[in-house]
Symmetry: C3
Subunit: 475 residues, 3 copies
């Protein structure tokens, strides 16, 4: 069980950032009602490749990589994906976005006690004397560890919570953000792309050209746009200190090196969270963790999705799959997102299936394998060997099959629905299995016996054991 | 009462297809919250005509007709409409879509016991030991009857459940679908049309040209896009059988002839459904049917909308109207759709009104009559004699009046809201009736007596008796 | 406290118009779920100015002013704003829209007993013998007072309730509406603008030219588009009276002069409403008004947002701010809108902040001051002295600071979320205040002492007292 034990040797963490956390049930209901639907873009999906980041921007204590938001896959899913690499003692400076955001933290065990990832700004609203908690999500991340910290961040630009246009924007409260974060400062021809039908051809070249300049240009943080004296009066500080807030230093960028000691006066809530996590771990060892605490945002903003007790599917000869949806983690109702984590052993197959009500944005976290994606026209739009660090999109309805290579295959799949569902084309609960033999017989023009074979020969659920022949590693 | 008795001589059935049916209340709630809003397109409505299908594609045992999805009316409503004619012993092969779908079945009485229309794929999710039902809607339809079976299918492309773009797509698990079902394989200039402002002029010609080729081209089903050996291993079958799944035979198309006997091992659920329908009929005869059973998807996916007891409005001299909304049929909450069925007797008038919160897509099921639709600029954008088999859209807010011809007029209206509402311009509960006379007097510059006449001279509710003069059949 | 007493000397009223009011809880739930999300447009915000109306159309007894719906600010927020000035004895004729609408009534005290603003058309639906109330919002407004009545009306074109495109439309049941209300009759090149990327440059000129013709052209009301004889039969009136309904008289326009006495037979509901308002006022004087009655549409469609007891924030040296959201006024759940009313005293500052989950459309009701808006690129996109009667948009996420001039500054802010939230950049509950000093220290490269100053020197909540130096009125 080499693969399984290697699975235990690393662990992963998910950070969920949203506009706010609401501590009143009535408000939660109201809010979850409100964030409802995705914005559509074009899904001109014909011939895809697994994607690597297109752009890299250096900061003082790390670097940030950007996938091309205008790639047709990411356009169709209407998300932006970036990857931060934060060096030891690096601080990702405070920022916020207008879109919900999921951050996947690689190598969680290491940084467990080293990162205080989320700063949530709780404020009492004295309206009618009823408690009402609201907050923004200006957040920062500090790497207290001995090695680089890698974060894969998905920004759900197409989410209903985003009331601006479909350009990816991130608002920095400090530092010198590169223009890749500034949807609004991109050129006008570019900004129209998600909508114009005939400008597609020139898009990618122009995109690359534009982005090529990105590394030299940096904008200011949001303090830098205010009048110095007005800001000084609002904060009741001297203009010299305002100068420091507004300073633009592209060398420092958005990940700065902490030179002195880093003190964090942890709010009560965070301590509690730390304790809870430890308790969770203990509970888990005792087998009592149930994963369904009725907890609010502060407590469930971090979620270790690799705990074995959360696994949905486990096949000792094929692998393990876990889904974190709004049922498991209620705050996902607010984000309209969910996430899967899957480990496939050597040569195992993840059942061919389609996503019923979501796009699936897949990031390979480890190993490699074969991926095929088929469109409604019956053509393979992607058929490729993928590797760790690559990304691809499985659009809603499109059929997909994944098969691990010799080193196994592990991925996370961000899904654009808080209760994402799939329907399988093979396996015990598949569409074929539940059709009458007469339908299969006539629909495919096959014999009764063949129809019966079609239904019954693969009786595993989702994770399929490789056949004898393929254990030799054909793919 | 010739028209009324003829009404009884035929009966209609509605099939509702959706992503899935959810057997957990909590999930139902979550799902219904999630499907929320329509995607907007242009509503450049200036001069309309009632529409007939633009394209016809033959299959082995029937044919499929397509309305032009790029017609400005259907663009505004953002729906696609097709009509299947399935011959005796014809099987419409399994397929699924990424948009909710309503199928209106003509001549229901005949096929009642002959069609097993819906295959729903229920699968247990062992997550946390709580029951959780999820399913896709790969469905197939078989005509066991003695005559052709006609289905009018509305695909709600603009529905929030569709996360792809605004092209109509249908994914076939078998057969050889024509490219009309393949939004993704349409040409790039075409796919951009729903968005580009200046390309409108050339649209229709190109559309026709493109579609003209449609009959010769067929794509494969979704199995055909996978690698043969990978699929063989996933299904654990030999590649010869995979060959049969992947075979593209345009002659058979998507409606195939069943040569041998057609056995369906009806799942328990379906039997139950059959019994329920018989019981419903008996109950109905005894007058005890209440139409409000608290049932789940499997039981209420079919709904006979012509049962007299469901009628909302009945005027013995004008006709009968029935609304099926989410209040009557809760699963419509998930689709964000509802449907009206109206029978107008000879020369009767359906009150002029506007749709408050929905588009109305009207399909004439019988007879003929006069339709006028007025835009916010006070111009008639449609003023036409319509006939059985034609289709038109009444956009949200636009005012419409319908008047039956000499043979009566019957229609169904698909509405893009699960609780569609109208407001009338005439009749007992109209906007005029509830305004103070002083407002009418001054707003129209008429006398007090005239204002009073305006409010009080038409005291029926919705279905208006023809006046003496018009019973001669002026329209 | 001169400013505060002047505040008391005028009072404001808010009218809320929506498709309908639903008297069944189940329906309210269903409806509020359904209206969920905004339509996105482009937010190409680079260099803004406060806006005044671009177009003025005269009617017999008043005039209507239109802000340019194609201005980039209003495009980004996806709203249309108009201002009606109704002379003494003027009647704004009945109309309805397909978008939710908020009307802000200037100088409410004066017209309190003179306006019967909303006619709501309630009708019983005898479906299943259960009460079901539905209605349209054909509404009219009459100025019974001695002076002009000024209404500022926001139409939320981007609201999910609008199923047509993003053109502003208003459907008039009477009068001769100018073409500014007719999205559908605008030229084709114009209608495509909200979507086409490259046509932006020519937009504004063409817009102006087009609108310049607007004053001479008038369309008919919706009755004018129907066939005369068909309408006569539907209403059961003679064609001569139909002629009067259909008459197009641009001189009268949409605000007509009431020559004779204006009788309104107030429905029971309205009387009740009147009584309630008087009671509210008495309660308010006795300090017992709680603003949270569990009331339905008819009772809460008008809301006096200037009642001191509703104030959220009050700083005797800086001003007063009130938020009306769905928590205070549940019907706002249906509109997905809320509203703020703020009075800043001379030279006081409203805390720099960003809107977390909404756009903010700000209309200056009194006085003047300095506004700065900063985008995610750290640039001030608006930096201007604003005056009474001007309008500007603060897009979601953008940072904004407001500072009153010598005469004080008062505004209303329409917000595109029924539970709009902000996060502050300064003050006791700001993002800075709740960050650890170490984060500020390293993020800004400042000393520990400076970080501490940044957090602690402005300890007011939202409304900031001017500093000694600026009380001289620098801005």
């Amino acid at each position: 069980m080499a693969t399984y034990s290697s699975l235990l040797s690393f662990s992963l963490c998910l950070l969920i950032l949203f506009h706010s956390c609401s501590a009143q049930i009535s408000q939660v209901t109201s809010r979850s009602r409100q964030q409802q639907q995705r914005y559509q873009t074009q899904c001109n999906i014909q011939n895809l490749n697994a994607l690597e980041p297109q752009q890299r921007v250096e900061s003082e204590a790390g670097y940030t990589e950007f996938w091309d938001q205008y790639d047709e896959q990411l356009q169709c899913a209407n998300v932006a994906v970036i990857r931060h690499t934060i060096q030891q003692k690096g601080l990702l400076v405070p920022s916020y976005t207008n879109s919900p955001q999921l951050i996947y933290v690689m190598d969680f065990k290491e940084l467990h006690s080293r990162v205080v990832p989320i700063h949530t700004n709780i404020q009492k609203n004295n309206h009618r004397d009823s408690p009402q908690v609201r907050g923004g999500v200006a957040h920062w991340i500090y790497n207290r560890g001995q090695s680089n910290l890698v974060l894969v961040s998905l920004y759900d630009v197409g989410n209903a919570a985003n009331q601006l246009d479909q350009l990816f924007r991130k608002f920095f409260l400090a530092g010198s953000p590169p223009q890749e974060f500034q949807g609004g400062s991109q050129s006008q021809s570019q900004r129209g792309r998600s909508q114009g039908p005939h400008q597609e051809q020139g898009r990618q070249q122009e995109q690359r050209r534009h982005r090529g300049q990105g590394q030299e240009q940096s904008g200011g943080n949001i303090f830098s746009g205010f009048n110095q004296e007005l800001l000084a009066e609002a904060l009741n500080i001297d203009t010299e200190l305002v100068n420091r807030l507004q300073r633009n230093d592209p060398q420092r960028g958005i990940i700065v090196r902490v030179e002195k000691e880093f003190h964090v006066i942890t709010p009560q809530r965070h301590e509690q969270e730390g304790r809870e996590e430890e308790e969770e771990e203990r509970e888990q060892q005792r087998g009592r963790y149930n994963g369904l605490e009725d907890t609010f945002c502060s407590m469930k903003l971090r979620h270790n999705i690799n705990k074995p007790s959360l696994a949905d599917s486990y096949n000792p000869r094929a692998g393990r799959a876990t889904s974190i949806n709004a049922y498991v983690l209620p705050i996902l109702n607010n984000l309209q997102l969910s996430i899967d984590k899957v480990s496939l052993y050597k040569n195992a197959i993840y059942a061919p299936h389609w996503n019923i009500n979501a796009h699936s944005i897949v990031y390979i976290t480890r190993g490699g394998g074969q991926i095929q994606i088929v469109s409604e026209s019956g053509e393979a739009v992607l058929d490729e060997q993928v590797q760790e660090g690559q990304l691809f999109v499985v659009p809603q309805g499109f059929a997909v099959v994944k098969r691990a290579g010799d080193r196994g295959l592990e991925w996370i799949a961000f899904k654009t629905n808080e209760m994402a569902m799939t329907s399988q084309l093979a396996g015990r609960d598949s569409a074929l299995t539940s059709m009458p033999v007469s339908v299969l017989e006539n629909a495919f023009g096959i014999s009764r016996e063949e129809g019966s074979r079609l239904k019954n020969r693969r009786w595993e659920m989702t994770l399929f054991t490789p056949s004898q022949s393929s254990r030799g590693g054909r793919y």
